[in-house]
């Protein structure tokens, strides 16, 4: 595979840049003693970031316990509280009487 000229030029430029930087670091600075720098202790690693403490989700207030009498009534509702309804007086036939044919 052939590399095109512009690409080669860019790569060459990049190599030159890298080379410049290395060369600059290796040159001693004028008036600076040429002794080897003392090893410097690496900075202590940053303390590990504290994990966020789990925040307990607030819980709803528990319902007050159902009194036994109320529980029996609730259960009676659920089992089909069969309170009777008086069907005898629910409707009036007075209206019907007025509609009666002579």
């Amino acid at each position: 595979m052939r590399m095109k000229w512009p690409v080669m030029a860019m790569l060459g430029g990049a190599l030159l840049l890298a080379g410049c930087k290395q060369q600059h670091q290796e040159q001693p600075v004028e008036n600076q003693p040429a002794e080897a720098p003392k090893p410097v202790a690496p900075p202590p690693p940053p303390p590990p970031a504290e994990k966020p403490k789990p925040v307990a989700a607030p819980k709803p207030k528990p319902l007050p316990p159902t009194p036994e009498d109320q529980q029996v009534l609730d259960d009676a509702d659920a089992t089909g509280m069969t309170a009777r309804v008086d069907r005898s007086g629910n409707a009036s036939d007075a209206q019907a009487a007025t509609n009666r044919e002579p």
């Binding site: 819980k59 009534l73 509280m81 009036s92």
Partner: protein
């Protein structure tokens, strides 16, 4: 029948039961046309019975006012949840008196004793309405001009029916208005949460719960309380956290709630018009038992009812005796599917759990001795074609759950000894001390009740209180949808039959 097998028989016995009931119920359910005079005698009765010649139905003369009353009466079909699918009225399009009275007779039977015909009942819907012929009451009401009072006397005479009727109107209104918003699936919602799902939940809850203010997207204390109220109404643990079960209940469409109410109203119509004042009622869907004395609830307890697939049947019967320290005669289905495989996997399992083989060959069966019996220490016997009964259980832990559908069809009780002492009150040989002594001794003993006690195994998934609060339970057996479909189909059939006459 064996009273010591605990399973729901889906075999020949229910069919026999239905077959025995069928002639009487068919006679009661089949719509009777109202002919004009003179009438041909009815078809011959079965040869074994003496011929019964019913008096001919002579059409009474109707006034214009009575015709209008009949039409008004038929217009209540939707309010009672039994209208055909394309109308709200059961009134015929024909203006003839015959069509009008035919429709009124059919509708009166439906309001009084249920819309379903005998053939519409599932085998395990063993609670059947009493036979009812509206003709005599109708003629009397026409002659005395008391049609309104007669109409009013027809629905089940129970507050539970009336409150559901009001609820039906309310939920139909909600349905017509577009129902409620669906809350999107997602993580559990609890206090402190904010966002669109919380806003949707608040809006959703406020439709059924007028005490909750609409608007806002924060899960505050008011919303937590509303969630707890809703959870109670849905038979869920009222923990205030909207998890999967609560979300599912909230997202049931309003139209399905309407159908659920209609199904439960129909079940009220299957109850006898006069219930014994002293009785035991079980709600299979809620797994709860209540004892009524003098028509008032005196005690209640948690129960465990049949799991889906082993449904506890609806039925009514009479508890006639109580067995203390009962052995368990294992139904062959349970032995084959559950116990013998365990024995093969872990030889010695049966012996370790108190089972012994009775008989040999294909008729061999398993019996568990009373000390280790799965029936616990107490069993309540009542005749029924399904082989089910109420009993104690050694596994009390199940009662702590909110969902308690876990049995093979029988009803397990949290406090069976209390119920036994209540049921045997007045039996001189069975004082509470004598019952305790019998339980301690461990012998299998049968105690006959001084008076049989009525027992009703019912399936209520919707019920309403007088203040309009409506409770909806899950429909674990899928019976609500099946029943609502059959009500609709029956109403459609009735409409077609009336139109065809």
């Amino acid at each position: 029948m064996s009273g010591e097998s605990c399973f729901v028989a889906h075999g020949s016995r229910p069919r026999l039961f239905v077959a025995l009931l069928a002639p009487a119920l068919l006679a009661a359910q089949a719509p009777q046309p109202v002919p004009t005079v003179p009438l041909a005698p009815p078809p011959a009765t079965p040869p074994a019975a003496p011929p019964i010649v019913a008096p001919p139905h002579v059409m009474p003369h109707l006034t214009d006012g009575q015709r209008a009353q009949l039409r008004d009466f038929l217009d209540t079909a939707a309010a009672n949840g039994i209208a055909a699918s394309d109308t709200t009225s059961a009134a015929p399009t024909s203006q003839s008196d015959t069509a009008l009275v035919d429709a009124a007779m059919d509708y009166a039977k439906a309001v009084h004793g249920g819309r379903l015909a005998t053939g519409d009942f599932q085998t395990d819907w063993g609670l059947r309405p009493e036979a009812y012929d509206p003709w005599t009451g109708f003629v009397d009401a026409v002659q005395h001009d008391t049609l309104a009072a007669w109409f009013a006397s027809l629905p089940p005479p129970y507050a539970g029916y009336d409150t559901l009727k009001k609820a039906l109107a309310t939920y139909r209104g909600i349905d017509r208005a577009g129902g409620w918003p669906v809350i999107a699936a997602g993580p559990d919602i609890g206090p402190g949460a904010t966002g669109d799902r919380v806003a949707a939940m608040r809006e959703r809850l406020a439709i059924e719960d007028a005490t909750l203010a609409k608007g806002g997207d924060k899960y505050d204390d008011d919303l937590a309380a509303a969630v707890q109220r809703a959870q109670k109404r849905y038979g869920l643990e009222p923990n205030g956290i909207v998890g999967k079960a609560t979300l599912a209940a909230l997202n049931v469409p309003a139209h399905d709630r309407v159908r659920q109410i209609e199904a439960n109203m129909e079940r009220w119509r299957w109850l006898p018009a006069q219930l014994p004042e002293h009785r035991v009622q079980v709600n299979i869907a809620a797994a709860v038992l209540t004892v009524f004395d003098a028509d008032k609830p005196v005690t209640s307890m948690r129960a465990v009812t049949g799991r889906p697939g082993d449904e506890t049947p609806m039925l009514s019967s009479q508890i006639h005796s109580i067995v203390f320290n009962p052995p368990w005669n294992v139904p062959s289905s349970i032995a084959t599917k559950e116990l013998w495989p365990k024995e093969r996997a872990h030889p010695g399992y049966l012996k370790a759990h108190g089972f012994r083989v009775i008989g040999s060959g294909p008729t061999a069966r398993l019996q568990q001795n009373s000390k280790k019996s799965a029936l616990g220490k107490v069993k309540f016997d009542f005749d029924n074609p399904y082989g089910v009964y109420l009993h104690d259980t050694p596994t009390q832990g199940t009662f702590d759950r909110y969902s308690r559908l876990a049995s093979h069809g029988c009803v397990r009780l949290a406090h069976p000894v209390d119920l036994a002492k209540l049921a045997l009150q007045g039996a001189p040989d069975w004082t509470p001390d004598a019952i305790d002594a019998a339980l301690r001794k461990g012998d299998t003993v049968r105690a006959r009740l001084p008076e049989p006690i009525a027992v009703f195994l019912l399936y209520w998934t919707a019920y309403a209180s007088a203040d309009g609060r409506v409770s909806f339970l899950g429909d674990p057996y899928g019976w609500d949808g099946a029943l609502a479909d059959r009500i609709q189909a029956s109403a459609n059939r009735a409409k077609q039959m009336v139109a065809a006459r």
